[in-house]
Amino acid sequence: MAILPILIFPDPLLKEKSAPVERVTPEISAAIDDLLDTMRASPGGVGIAAPQTGLLKRIVAVDVSASKRGAQQENHGLLVLINPEILAKGGRQIVREGCMSIPDYTANIERAQWVLVDALDRTGKHVILESVGLEAVAIQHELDHLDGILFVDRVASIKTDLFRRKKYR
């Protein structure tokens, strides 16, 4: 168990595509524990992707119940998703997102309102789950990390949608 350092943009590893997890080995399990510790150590943090810690594996964790606003919405609590894929999505919503890897900015990003996700859970069991609202935003944001996509890549207008943080809490 450890809190790992977070890679900060423009670290080139953040733009890499991560590789699928072949098997949930003890090493992968330990890496997941570290990811969860790291996510929980970040103020208000409700999601993390393995490549943010330099581990180029298709693993993300999301827990919107850790934020006040997220907890008020439909959610699955803590989700660990291995090799996740979005099977279907629908609707649209715009939420202001912040990212541990881009600590100086926040941005309004348009995402799907609803997603259907296929993944392995942390025991390696195959799951299909539906997610809506903020949890769906968090899942889409973290899945983007697995393909080297950052929220700034999805900003429609830097003038109206990108905001500099006064300070990172």
Binding site: M100, N108, L134, A138, F163, R164, R165, K166
Partner: protein, 181 residues
Amino acid sequence: MGHFSVSVVGKDRPGIVAEVSRILFEQGCNIEDSTCTILSGQFAMILVIHHSKFQAADELGPAFDEVRTKMRLIVTVNALKDEEVVHEKAFAGHPHIISVYGADRPGIVYTVAQELARRKVNITDLNTQVVGAKDRPVYVMVLEVDIPEAVDMKELEKEFGRIRKELSVSITVRPIETLEL
């Protein structure tokens, strides 16, 4: 060396950006920040530029005489003090979105803006338009504002309640919260 703001307004047509940027390039200016929009067929552009030698607006201003006559553009050049140049939009308070809509009538923007100014709420973005059928125009205004810590939200809501009645408009204030990922 200094910073300047340059604003350009004129009837929209292809080539305005090309001509303005050509002049800036030829004068040795660096465009540091810019945005443009088209309102009812009028092209409007504002730029913050930097020049390694120029200090005063009249060193750069005359370079635009050519497009002033040829393209009938209104071009204004202002010298900026270095400390006035802030590169990003920075929030000091709590960002909120205020949406206002209702039957079109005079004074909607003024009434809402006056109330915000009175409370030192900073408007960081403002869009207004008239939508809907010709005989039943609906006025829509969306503001992004920065609400200082000291503002009593209940008081603000009470004032908006009064404005809602007075102007028969709908006013909704929503916080912009950041999802920390």
